[in-house]
Assembly symmetry: C2
Homo-oligomer: 206 residues x 2
DNA sequence: AGTATCACTACGAAAAGTGTAGTGGAGAAA
DNA sequence: TTTCTCCACTACACTTTTCGTAGTGATACT
């Protein structure tokens, strides 16, 4: 992303936070008052942010409110296609789309699941939501990576002393024991989305 | 609902259809031009519709666009609490909330599932989406009612000659054979929503 | 019949907010 | 230095929304 000036950053962050809190964007006049600047100055910042790709700002002509919108990747939860191979932080740059979920506190992401190792609980083609944090208790479903392999979805049983078992829900797959040194926990299971109708909720990056 | 005048109905239906098609509401000035009336006349209709509870229309002071919104029940998919006992058409009046899903063609509803007869595929507390139509093929998951009992969720196998089998996914429950005369098919399974985070998508009726 | 009231429809003028143009200073980059 | 970007302001034209005003038709009361 292109570098922002101090004022531009302030405007952008205020807009983003306001949207996360309230779900809507503020009036431009109110916003200018809040930030202590004139309407026209604010407009210039918004135009600069638009040019730099941080948001959408389109005038509709005199006297009509402009179209102001934050892109999905500023407010939504990234949906990562199939199973990403590399580090998750890099995969987020190539997200397939974003889920507009309001009111979430932590750091979240979603995976478009391929494979049936957690069937019938989680099926092939489900979109599964995760929170980026270590599990609070043994036996939670986690998105994990063993050594440098792909991310997989398994129950994570803590045996103590740095030993773990990755346990699939589908009995056709074997459980695998591993150590903390080999294990990267990418996130903890929160819920899922199944079916084409719900998939329309995912906003693709324009 | 309170009766509407011809003009009020025209305005309301145009707004509803426009929202269903585009996902946004039109400009009031454009709308007035489209409907062939003055802005102020349109405003009076909108105020009447607001007073009658068909939509939300709130002024924000001179020169500022008023807040215009259709209630969730005009555009969303009703989510019916637990398992409704009576006819589904009546239960929709007491919906727990609405799912804002755009771009769906048919007639849909969602059930907040209680019970585990379809576990592990569908679990207790999942929100399951249905389309109101007969199944296209045997073996689809359907929301069905046998005689006058509650709605249940089962695979529906068509044996031919008006005989059907209601088959649970959970092997702890028995399959039940029944006849077309006793059977009411309320809808066909489309997908589901699981987890608290996604449940925040459901808009409650204000 | 006559009158009062209410809902619906409609238009003109004023108030408040928005968009554009132009000016200018401070600071960084070439 | 020159050039560019960022930032701020004034002034004015324009649009949207509101307020005030008015006519019509239905219903109910005197």
């Amino acid at each position: 992303m292109i570098r922002l000036s101090a004022m531009q950053k302030k405007v952008y962050e205020y807009l983003r936070d306001h949207f996360r809190k309230t779900g809507v964007l503020p009036d431009l006049a109110d916003l200018a008052r809040t930030l202590g600047m004139h309407y026209v100055s604010l407009k210039q910042h918004l135009e600069a942010l638009h040019k730099k790709g941080y948001l959408t700002f389109e005038s509709r002509g005199r006297g009509r409110s402009p179209i102001l919108a934050l892109p999905a990747n500023a407010t939504g939860i990234p949906v990562l296609g199939s199973i990403p191979a590399g580090p998750l932080s890099e995969a987020i740059s190539f997200a397939e789309g974003y889920l507009p979920l309001a009111g979430l506190q932590g750091d979240h992401f979603a995976l478009w699941v391929q494979g049936d190792s957690m069937a019938d609980l989680i099926q092939d083609d489900d979109v599964v939501l995760f929170e980026k944090r270590p599990p609070y208790r043994s036996g939670e479903i986690c998105a994990v990576r063993v050594q440098d392999s792909d991310v997989t979805l398994k129950y994570l049983d803590d045996l103590g002393e740095g030993r773990y078992v990755l346990r699939p829900h589908n009995p056709d797959y074997p459980a695998v024991e591993t150590s903390a040194a080999e294990l990267t926990i990418e996130g903890v299971y929160l819920g899922l989305l199944r079916g084409d109708a719900f998939r329309s909720l995912i906003q693709s990056v324009e």
